[in-house]
């Protein structure tokens, strides 16, 4: 949800298929998605040689500061995923509806941990489909009013 929302504001929209399909990185709309995904995949699968190569690529593409920040984000979600899956939390109620379409699109219902969240009925899913674009339009309006989220100062990204 936050990928789609932030992409809507900062990147002119993203194709979230990249989350499950690394080969879709080039069309994702996220600058340097291929390098970021290769890095994340190598780190969390304990692929030492792959991590070394991906680290070099990411540093070459985005710089040393970005490499540090990317490492920290990967570390963060190694933690958050385990908190969620080890405690069996369900998805929060408002998010269930809003992300219903996303769950289907990315085939997330096949995950074992999807069983921790009660299934939604078709009416709730339909409401979610209606709410998602409204939420994204609201975010764009917020951006226009506040002048925030105009892009990123990193020149490597802006030139992408």
């Amino acid at each position: 949800m936050l990928l789609r929302a932030s992409g809507s504001i900062q990147s002119g929209g993203v194709d979230v298929a990249v989350v499950r399909d690394a080969e879709a990185a080039d069309q994702s709309g996220v600058p340097h998605a291929d390098a970021l995904i290769a890095f994340a995949d190598a780190v969390i699968t304990n692929d030492e040689s792959g991590t070394s190569a991906a680290r070099t690529q990411l540093r070459d593409d985005l710089g040393a500061e970005a490499l540090v920040d990317a490492s920290a984000v990967v570390a963060n979600f190694q933690r958050m995923n385990r908190i969620a899956d080890a405690t069996g939390i369900p998805l929060d109620r408002p998010m269930r509806s809003i992300t219903a379409e996303l769950q289907t699109q990315l085939d997330l219902d096949g995950f074992v941990s999807a069983g921790n969240t009660p299934r939604m009925n078709p009416v709730s899913k339909a409401i979610g489909r209606l709410l998602l674009p409204i939420a994204l339009v609201g975010l764009r309006a917020f951006k226009a009013l506040t002048g925030r989220g105009k892009g990123h100062s990193n020149s490597t990204i802006e030139s992408s």
């Binding site: 936050l2 990928l3 932030s6 809507s8 504001i9 900062q10 990147s11 989350v19 499950r20 996220v30 970021l36 995904i37 780190v43 969390i44 304990n46 991590t51 680290r55 540093r59 500061e65 540090v68 920040d69 990317a70 490492s71 920290a72 984000v73 990967v74 570390a75 963060n76 979600f77 190694q78 933690r79 958050m80 995923n81 385990r82 908190i83 969620a84 899956d85 080890a86 405690t87 069996g88 939390i89 369900p90 998805l91 929060d92 990315l106 219902d109 995950f111 074992v112 941990s113 069983g115 921790n116 975010l139 951006k143 506040t146 925030r148 989220g149 892009g151 990123h152 990193n154 990204i157």
Partner: protein, 256 residues
């Protein structure tokens, strides 16, 4: 909390020799994590918490975990873990499973840990220790840095404090709804309702505080998380941050 390296005393997480500049707030968060790790918690002593951390590190090379991860079903591999501590067996299995194959944990598996001797409170504190160490270690592995030695345990007894507001909500473990917070843990949700992932470890409030400390440094400060226009002055954009977040979650098969 200091370790001897080549004849000199250095602070933990001294990133001076790192090939890249590590933000000071990350180093500081890691130091706080190690200080907290070494002290007695609510349900485990400092020595036991360090043992949990050591067991988590050992799980990376456990052949049982490797075979289970490769099997169609975790139940297909029924051998004892290669353990490096004398922690109780249900604790060892919990540590190894949540470290190496978290996406296939089930409520029945969690309940089996309770049936074999762990309490929900002990279990949640194990989660807190495991996720603290795995995230700090992941940061090091990602940058090609050696793992920080585990700290020496600080003597002391667990407080055995159970928040009175903890109750069975929708998670496997008891959690504290925001309207049942008492004064002792009034700070842990920053005045918000608290999404489930924040409430998840509230049975041991200090683990929620540790989560906040690390998340501010690794991801974004609490108030910026919900603002998709904010990148927190990081060197990667918010869509890049969220792409990494979503990809890690997908590979770990985390629905949440």
């Amino acid at each position: 909390m200091e370790s001897a390296t080549a004849g000199r005393r250095v602070e933990p997480f001294d990133y001076q020799a790192a090939p890249v500049v590590v933000r000071p707030d990350i180093a500081e968060a890691h130091r706080k994590a190690w200080q907290r790790l070494a002290r007695a918690g609510n349900w485990w002593s400092g020595a036991e918490r360090i043992a949990i951390a050591a067991e988590m590190r050992g799980a990376r090379t456990c052949s049982v975990c490797r075979d289970r991860k490769a099997a169609l079903s975790p139940a297909a591999v029924d051998r004892e873990h290669e353990s490096c501590t004398d922690l109780p067996k249900p604790a060892i299995d919990a540590i190894h499973r949540m470290s190496t194959d978290p996406g296939r944990l089930t409520k029945a598996w969690y309940e089996s840990k309770l049936e074999t001797g762990l309490t929900p409170e002990q279990y949640v504190e194990i989660v807190g220790v495991v996720v603290t160490v795995i995230s700090v270690d992941t940061f090091h592995l990602a940058l090609g840095l050696p793992l920080e030695p585990l700290p020496e345990p600080v003597p002391g007894e667990p407080t055995r404090y159970r928040p009175p507001g903890a109750t069975q909500e929708g998670a496997w473990v008891p959690t504290i709804p925001s309207d049942r917070l008492t004064e002792a843990e009034a700070d842990i949700y920053h005045g918000s309702r608290g999404f489930y992932v924040i409430r998840a470890m509230s049975l041991v409030p200090d683990e929620v505080r540790m989560l906040d400390t690390l998340s501010k440094a690794h991801y974004l400060p609490h108030k910026q998380v919900g603002d998709p226009a904010s990148s927190g002055n990081r060197a990667i954009s918010r869509p890049q941050i969220e792409l990494l977040a979503a990809r890690v979650s997908a590979v770990n098969q985390c629905f949440y």
